[in-house]
């Protein structure tokens, strides 16, 4: 290999090229790459000089060492061996027996044998290999039903046999005019048109040849952002004929209402689309990603029980945003008055469903999820709490206002409950300094620290003073920590410990609760002395057994 040790000859003035000038050396990692080249001067000077190799990139010296390293990759290739050796080696494999039937060694067609391939450096003409071309869509010949018509009539009430010829031509024309992407939508629209024509008994009499093509054929009608979505045209407009009472007052009013709604929708869509792109949203509009499928509810009933959606939502049962706000207030009152969790949870789920269906994501959505999470924590429904917490995490990253610190603290406590160490690590890594100064988050972090250093006294102190709803979360693993603390005390203390001391250390409200807890573990309490006490040595095996119960965590958390 030729090794360049000096600047390449084409940098020489004698060649008529300007001397190399340093440029594009804005960062250290790039400065060694393009040594001595200017972006506007001749490109030849851009070719890198070999005496400065970038870090990790190929270097003549690297080549040789990497060659040695990689000889085992190349060793088995046919490149270095002679033909006879290759033949001998290949011959010993059983698969070659199939080839041997076809003739002698010289004529054998082993898949990778060099004997049958073209020799090196032959004058090979690069023949023109035709590129694979996708045939442009050719409209089907008239009168021939293609698969599209089948698709349109499939599942519909109108059979193909009932279609007049003009309708078939209409279907073909619309499929020819629409792009491949919109075919699915076009099918739906055609089905609708044909079904309504049949219902109005206009299937045969209607002038399909002159009827305008369905909307899906026009490009640019359905765009996500920017263009106002057209409200789905009324039933009659698709037929292409004016209804009888077109000019009546009732219809005029309805039309007016529809146009007002369309104008509002257009305004809102324009407002939403004028926001920044989705990638860096400080999200300010009410609805995310407004498009033709977004609906606005019309129901005014405050309460609605939850039903899992199995089809497209009906605006008549979906409540709009102002109604939902009133619903939230009502639910808050109801929860405070009578704590009927099943009812309130059901109502909250339907509230969340209405929000999702109308794609409303704003401060109100955050408030709804937060309230539901708090209520779930209070009743210890960890499944619902988890759902709300996941949604809240996404909403906070979108920049919506809410009690993010409070819920960050809950998240940390939940990871402690599930003993999810990797998630604790990632949460720690993602926290900023301002996050750590919030009192709720600080409390959660101190709980984590106490558990990590085995300081059970400090843990129970923190448990007793948990802010917000952290206490409810910590209740879930308080018993587990009590068992492990009890185990430590049984190992350490002799001969006896007073019940009062145990109940104080393990943060029980009264000594009776402590007694009940110990009784549930079958630990005997001695009442002969002035105060009830526990014999530590006798209690040790029970404490060990108690810990075994907590080795696996419930499925709502993580399996340890």
């Amino acid at each position: 290999q030729v090794e360049y040790t000096s600047p390449a000859p084409w940098h020489n003035q004698a060649y008529g090229l300007p001397p190399p000038q340093p440029s594009f050396a804005t960062t250290p990692e790039h400065s060694h790459l393009v040594s001595g080249s200017s972006s506007t001067s001749s490109l030849a000077t851009h070719l890198k000089v070999k005496d400065s190799a970038p870090i990790g990139f190929s270097n003549p010296s690297n080549h040789s060492s990497s060659n040695d390293h990689f000889t085992d990759y190349g060793a088995a290739s046919g490149g270095q061996r002679s033909r006879s050796v290759t033949r001998v080696l290949s011959k010993s494999i059983s698969e070659m027996s199939i080839e041997e039937e076809h003739g002698s060694l010289a004529g054998a067609t082993w898949p990778n044998s060099r004997a049958t391939q073209a020799p090196l450096y032959s004058a090979v003409k690069l023949g023109k290999i035709a590129k694979k071309k996708v045939a442009p869509y050719a409209p089907p010949p008239a009168g021939k039903l293609n698969g599209f018509a089948k698709a349109v009539s499939a599942g519909g009430e109108v059979k193909e046999a009932e279609w007049p010829l003009s309708l078939k031509r209409f279907v073909e024309r619309s499929f020819a005019a629409c792009s491949a992407k919109m075919r699915f939508v076009l099918e739906k629209q055609l089905k609708q048109i044909i079904a309504s024509a049949k219902a109005n008994k206009k299937l045969v009499t209607m002038d399909w040849d002159n009827r305008p093509l369905p909307k899906a054929c026009n490009p640019g009608v359905r765009t996500i952002k920017g263009i106002a979505p057209a409200k789905p045209a009324s039933f009659h407009a698709d037929i292409g004929e004016l209804p009888d009472d077109f000019d009546s007052d009732e219809r005029k009013e309805r039309r007016l209402l529809r146009f007002q709604k369309e104008a509002e929708a257009a305004k809102q869509a324009a407002y939403v689309s004028s926001q920044a792109t989705m990638a860096s949203v400080p999200h300010t509009g009410d609805v995310l990603n407004w498009d033709a499928d977004t609906i606005v509810g019309t129901c005014t009933k405050l309460e609605k029980s939850y039903l899992r959606l199995t089809s497209a939502p009906d605006p008549a049962v979906v409540r709009p945003l102002p109604i939902l706000r009133q619903t939230l207030d009502l639910l808050k009152h109801k929860w405070v008055e009578n704590s009927n969790y099943t009812y309130v949870c059901d109502q909250f789920k339907s509230l969340r469903q209405d929000l999702i269906v109308q794609r409303i994501t704003n401060g109100f959505t955050v408030e709804v999820y937060e309230q539901h999470a708090r209520i779930a924590l209070e009743t210890n429904d960890l499944g619902e709490y988890n759902q709300c917490q996941t949604q809240l995490k996404q909403l906070y990253t979108m920049g919506l206002p809410g009690h993010s610190m409070e819920f960050l603290a809950y998240r940390i406590l939940y990871f402690l409950y599930t003993r999810n160490k990797s998630d604790i690590n990632t949460a720690l890594a993602a926290m900023t300094a301002t996050d750590k100064q919030d009192p709720a988050v600080r409390h959660a972090l101190e709980v984590r620290y106490a558990m990590a250093t085995g300081n059970y006294f400090r843990y129970f102190q923190l448990y007793a003073c948990a802010p917000n709803m952290g206490g409810y979360l910590m209740d879930n693993f308080a018993d587990r920590e009590r068992c492990s603390a009890l185990l430590k005390m049984c190992r350490a203390f002799r001969p006896q410990l007073g019940l009062a001391y145990i109940s104080q250390t393990l943060a029980f409200d009264t000594a009776d609760e402590c007694a009940k807890f110990l009784a549930s573990l079958n630990i005997p309490i001695l009442c002969d002395g002035p105060q009830p006490s526990v014999d530590m040595k006798a209690a040790l095996p029970y404490a060990v057994a108690a810990i075994q119960n907590y080795e696996k965590v419930d499925i709502k958390g993580q399996i340890y």
């Binding site: 290999q1 030729v2 390449a8 084409w10 594009f24 790459l33 393009v34 080249s37 490109l43 030849a44 070719l47 070999k50 990790g56 990139f57 190929s58 003549p60 060659n67 990689f70 000889t71 085992d72 990759y73 190349g74 088995a76 290739s77 046919g78 490149g79 494999i93 698969e95 990778n112 060099r114 090196l120 450096y121 090979v124 690069l126 023109k128 290999i129 160490k421 990797s422 604790i424 690590n425 720690l428 890594a429 620290y449 990590a452 250093t453 085995g454 300081n455 059970y456 006294f457 400090r458 603390a485 185990l487 430590k488 005390m489 190992r491 350490a492 203390f493 002799r494 001969p495 250390t505």
Partner: protein, 409 residues
């Protein structure tokens, strides 16, 4: 000769090497800035004075497209347009993959070279994109592309082992680890390890040592993340012992994860090691010293100071386990100062903590700390709440740290 002729000559060379299955030379010239490439490009430039020949030619076969895109990528790379260079390299790589399905083991070396180049270009392209504040997605694309090559290697059906493509699997797995860890996709790493375990590859020790060391390093890293310290230690120790003498940075990286594991077992890094690896000294040297001296105040201060660094490495929670050793040392000092009496009163411990700079620690907390020590085994004896003393055993009330930690495994 004109530029176009020179280029077609170069394409001939690619094709010839492909037909000859010349793995070493093919891999060499396929690198982004290889000597051959620069020679060709210089000739084209001198002949034409511009790059039109490159831009107008179209590749017809996979190999010719590969070579053409490779030259384009080199030109863009030399000009510093890493985003375009990456795009060209990606199309060159896709063309190579099309040809690779017909290659056997000889194609592995060029594949590795191309993947490496793709990775480096993707990193630089992303860097450029982030500087101009555009979404940087090139690394993800590169990951997907390299994953294709990886699965082609791993699921190779060639019955002959010495020409099978499986010999490139671990090298590509290591490259993919680096990519995934850059994007913090730990679940992808774990699924890849599982896939390798269930596939029928030759055993790891038959692969080149470089592949083995790197693979074990990453596997140990992931085990460490998943808190499986025994498996992590096995892999990391192997990696450290077999790592190449000259690979200083790699050994530092291995030690960054290995040191906390050893410290948890009670083996503090020696001064010789700390001298040879200043990054380790900076991270763990102070902590090790404070722990062995029982200086809890200093230990907590350093932990707070280095918290960001340790958390970004993922070793913060592991190092917290070392704190118990520091507490044991402090208690041992108090025991020695009191003349090795067999009764250690809580008030004396409290006074000792006060002098050590930990402030006023309540008796309840002292009791809980001592109970923790006894239950782990650092102190042999028992606590008596009525008398307010810790009654220590007559022999070895403070057993040696390593034996205690080994027994508790």
């Amino acid at each position: 000769m004109s530029g176009a002729d020179r280029l077609s000559q170069a394409a001939f060379k690619f094709k010839a090497l492909h037909n000859a299955k010349n793995s070493a030379e093919f891999a060499q010239i396929i690198k982004i800035d290889s000597q051959y490439t620069t020679t060709v490009l210089r000739d084209v430039w001198n002949a034409d004075g511009n790059w039109n020949a490159l831009l107008t030619q179209q590749g017809t076969t996979a190999i010719s497209e590969l070579s053409l895109m490779h030259f384009r990528a080199s030109v863009e790379f030399c000009q510093g347009n890493f985003v375009e260079a990456y795009a060209c390299q990606l199309s060159s790589y896709q063309a190579f993959l099309r040809a690779f399905s017909n290659m056997d083991r000889w194609g592995v070396h060029p594949l590795l070279a191309m993947c490496k180049d793709l990775y480096l270009l993707a990193c630089r392209a992303d860097y450029q994109l982030t500087r101009t504040e555009q979404p940087a997605s090139k690394l993800e694309e590169a990951t997907r592309a390299i994953n294709q090559g990886f699965s082609m290697c791993m699921t190779d059906r060639e019955p002959l082992l010495n020409i099978s493509r499986k010999w490139g699997t671990y090298h590509l797995a290591n490259l993919l680890f680096a990519l995934y860890l850059r994007q913090k996709a730990f679940n992808m790493c774990n699924s890849m390890i599982r896939a390798i375990k269930t596939s029928e590859l030759p055993s790891l020790d038959q692969f080149p040592m470089g592949d083995q060391v790197t693979f074990r390093y990453y596997r140990g890293l992931l085990a460490f993340q998943g808190e499986q310290l025994a498996a992590a230690k096995r892999d990391m120790v192997f990696a450290l012992e077999h790592c190449h003498r000259d690979a200083y940075r790699n050994r530092t990286r291995i030690l960054m994860r290995l040191t906390p594991i050893m410290m948890i077992e009670g083996s503090m890094p020696q001064s010789r090691l700390l001298r040879r690896y200043p990054p380790i000294n900076e991270l763990y040297g102070g902590l090790a010293r404070a722990a062995m001296l029982g200086d809890l105040c200093q230990f907590d201060a350093i932990m707070q100071d280095k918290e960001q660094l340790l958390v970004s490495l993922g070793t913060y929670t592991a190092v917290e386990h070392v704190r118990r050793i520091a507490v044991r040392q402090l208690l041992y000092k108090i025991y020695l100062i009191d003349g090795k009496s067999s009764r250690l009163s809580f008030q004396r411990v409290r006074a000792g903590f006060w002098i050590a700079g930990l402030g006023d620690v309540s008796v309840f907390e002292i009791e809980s700390i001592l109970a923790d020590m006894v239950s782990v085994g650092f102190i042999k004896g028992y606590l008596s709440h009525e008398h307010g003393v810790a009654v220590l055993s007559k022999q070895q009330p403070f057993p040696p740290i390593k034996s205690v930690l080994a027994a508790s495994k």
